[in-house]
């Protein structure tokens, strides 16, 4: 266990950033998201949840994949460069840290996504325990411990000090110069976090019946009509979600060629399943149902029972009309039909 005064963090960040890129929760125009750090940026480790999750760092909202350049009768093709250098993501909460493992199950299986894989191989994750979980948090339902957030190293804020415990060699190398610390105050902080986690209003959701065996019962449940009624069909829930991984690949006409890019897509959008023949989902009910069936039924039935939700609660806090996965779990969970 190492420690550093919160006042001295800027120096630690500067040291890390002198050799590699550093991403941290940074405030811009009043909102906090993960951005690349430099000395003029305002880091907000006190903010529990960034608006968007930390997944951007590994799976950015937009990225170029390929460029075609047409000259006369020749076409030149260049693949976009992949990440080649190590970088650090600092201040990732336990929920977001788990989301990377879920994204791995999508992007690192055959066919492997080399752009994502390169970033994962080079990313060093420093997590931060959740000092004050919010009412929207429900990570403990998915076996996540907000007091022990994992990653290459974990950090805890106790008073004016930041304690860091490395879990891997890469994590240890980052903080090798910091002074050694006694772990007892961190143990007390962990106990406090766990005590709050137990009192969270959504701490004990009943996920019984969300599995492949009950797929059709869940799909046909009449409750979807009522649950989806107020859905605006916006993409807020999907874009703030750490585990939503759907994307679109499109070509941008540059005038003398094409830039092929990938961007996040949302199953809430009307053209999400648009195919040459037709669109298989006609209504917002169908789109809404897809999002939750994917997270709570399809994903676990293909991935050893792991739900594609980490309980970060961003959808709970951000849905303009207060629809969310907790509402769905409460309406459809706890029964085997």
């Amino acid at each position: 266990m190492k420690k550093i005064s919160l006042n001295a963090l800027g120096a630690l960040f500067a040291k890390i950033a002198s050799t590699m890129k550093l991403y941290a929760p940074i405030e811009k125009a009043g909102q906090v998201d993960f951005y690349e750090w430099n000395e003029s940026e305002k880091v907000r480790l006190d903010v529990l949840k960034t608006v968007k999750s930390a997944k951007d760092v590994f799976f950015p909202q937009v990225e170029d994949l390929l460029k075609f350049r047409v000259e006369g009768k020749s076409i030149e093709m260049n693949e976009a460069p992949k990440c080649e250098d190590d970088f650090v993501v600092f201040g990732v909460r336990g929920c977001d840290a788990r989301s990377f493992e879920l994204l791995d199950r999508v992007f690192l299986v055959d066919p492997r996504d080399e752009f994502y894989a390169a970033r994962r191989a080079h990313g060093i994750i420093v997590t931060l325990a959740c000092g004050a979980p919010e009412e929207s948090c429900f990570c403990t339902n998915f076996g996540i411990d907000p007091a022990n957030p994992g990653g290459d190293a974990s950090a805890w804020i106790v008073g004016e000090e930041l304690y860091i415990e490395p879990h891997t060699e890469r994590g240890a190398a980052l903080i090798a110069d910091l002074e050694d610390a006694d772990a007892s105050s961190v143990e007390a902080a962990k106990k406090e976090i766990s005590a709050i986690a137990e009192r969270l209003p959504f701490a004990n959701l009943d996920l019984t019946g969300f599995d492949g065996e009950h797929l059709m019962e869940k799909f046909d449940d009449p409750a979807w009509e009522r649950l989806s009624k107020a859905c605006l069909g916006c993409g807020t829930c999907t874009f703030v979600c750490p585990t939503c991984q759907c994307y679109d690949i499109r070509d941008f006409d540059t005038g003398h060629g094409v830039t092929r890019y990938r961007c996040w897509d949302s199953c809430m959008y009307s053209d999400f399943t648009l195919m040459a023949a037709e669109n298989s989902r006609h209504t917002q009910l169908q789109r809404f149902r897809q999002r939750f069936m994917h997270k709570l039924v399809y994903f676990p039935s293909n991935n050893d029972g792991l739900y594609s939700c980490v309980g970060c609660g961003r959808c709970v806090a951000k849905c303009p009309q207060n629809l969310n996965i907790v509402k769905v779990i409460k309406a459809l969970g706890g029964k085997k039909a």
């Binding site: 909102q31 608006v51 929207s136 969270l200 993409g235 807020t236 053209d271 509402k327």
Partner: protein
């Protein structure tokens, strides 16, 4: 309200009711359509921020009449949608409900109140229960939604039955913030909007909630237009989206403020629209979209008193 809704359902005058229900958190309010079976779970209080008017567009395809409860500011959106023939007045029974401004839970959070479990109103006071103890907000006006700071007044512009009293929650000049932006140098103003608009994640919540954005299919959702940009070609494109959208709804925007309420990044989008409203007021005389059904707004109308485009261009052109 529940009683009145039950009466109208029982008499067969309407077959469903558009109102609000409680969400998962005690303080969450979600628009919902009720029938006689579940109308008892209807809720109306200081947390019912969402404007219901646009939901009527989707209800028009169904059989029978629907009862809708309208707050004073929502009644402007209702009239505007009726003007644009997006709602059929024959199929709606509106009832006006009183409003004294709606609470913005995000503003409670901004005050440093964490882990909110419930919000209870006690006159002008708010009692907030949280995971970390209780808090009291002495004056609810400190935490009203931005839209309530530019309240259009307690008047309901839809002629119908009224339940409950309203209050005008505006203090001071509702165009004050716009005037501040106008007073900035162009570079400062550019920096302000770049900072705000660059946070956009293009979730389209502002567009989807907007009662003036009532196109059946948005040009940006149609892959055949060639402009359906799911990704920004450069870092100004998101900024442009909002500017274009503000132009598109100019003259039809009632300043209902839903765009800013729903923005996950807290971009003050309503200020773009309010700037247009201020300009229209100054150049063409006072105009309020949705004040009555069937109005033609100044940008689609012409009268001989209109100032010349050149005057509009240099500003300050007095109306004759």
């Amino acid at each position: 309200m529940i009683e009145r809704a039950r009466e109208l359902l029982a008499s067969g005058e309407v077959n469903r009711v558009l109102a609000w229900e409680k969400g998962e958190n005690d303080f969450d309010r979600t628009p919902a359509v009720f029938t006689a079976d579940n109308v008892d779970s209807l809720v109306y209080d200081g947390l019912c921020g969402p404007n219901l008017s646009k939901y009527l567009v989707g209800e028009m395809e169904k059989e029978g009449k629907i009862l809708v409860f309208l707050k004073p500011c929502d009644s402007y959106s209702y009239n505007q949608l009726a003007t644009e023939h997006r709602i059929d007045l024959e199929k709606v029974v509106p009832i006006a409900v009183g409003c004294r401004g709606k609470i913005d839970v995000e503003k409670l959070r901004a005050k440093g109140i964490k882990g909110i479990l419930s919000v209870t109103e006690d006159g002008d006071k708010l009692l907030v229960k949280t995971l970390y103890g209780d808090a009291v907000v002495e004056n609810r006006k400190e935490v009203l939604l931005d839209k309530c700071l530019a309240c259009k007044g307690k008047e309901h512009v839809v002629e119908c039955e009224v339940i409950g009293e309203s209050e005008d929650t505006t203090e001071g000049d509702k165009f004050g913030i716009v005037a501040k932006l106008e007073a900035m140098t162009p570079d400062e103003r550019f920096a302000f909007w770049r900072g705000e608009l660059s946070k956009c994640i293009r979730c389209n919540a502002c567009r989807n909630v907007c009662p003036a954005c009532s196109c059946v299919k948005c040009v940006f959702d149609n892959p055949n237009t060639g402009v359906a940009n799911k990704a920004a070609a450069d870092d100004f494109e998101e900024n442009m989206f909002h500017i274009i959208r503000a132009f598109h709804v100019a003259g039809r925007c009632t300043d209902c403020g839903e765009c800013s309420r729903v923005c996950p990044q807290h971009i003050p989008l309503h200020l773009l629209n309010r700037k247009f409203i201020k300009d229209i007021n100054e150049i063409y005389g006072g105009y309020q979209a949705g004040a009555e059904i069937g109005q033609r707004h100044p940008l689609e109308n012409f009268d001989k008193g209109d100032c010349e485009p050149s005057v509009v261009h240099v500003r300050g052109g007095a109306r004759k």
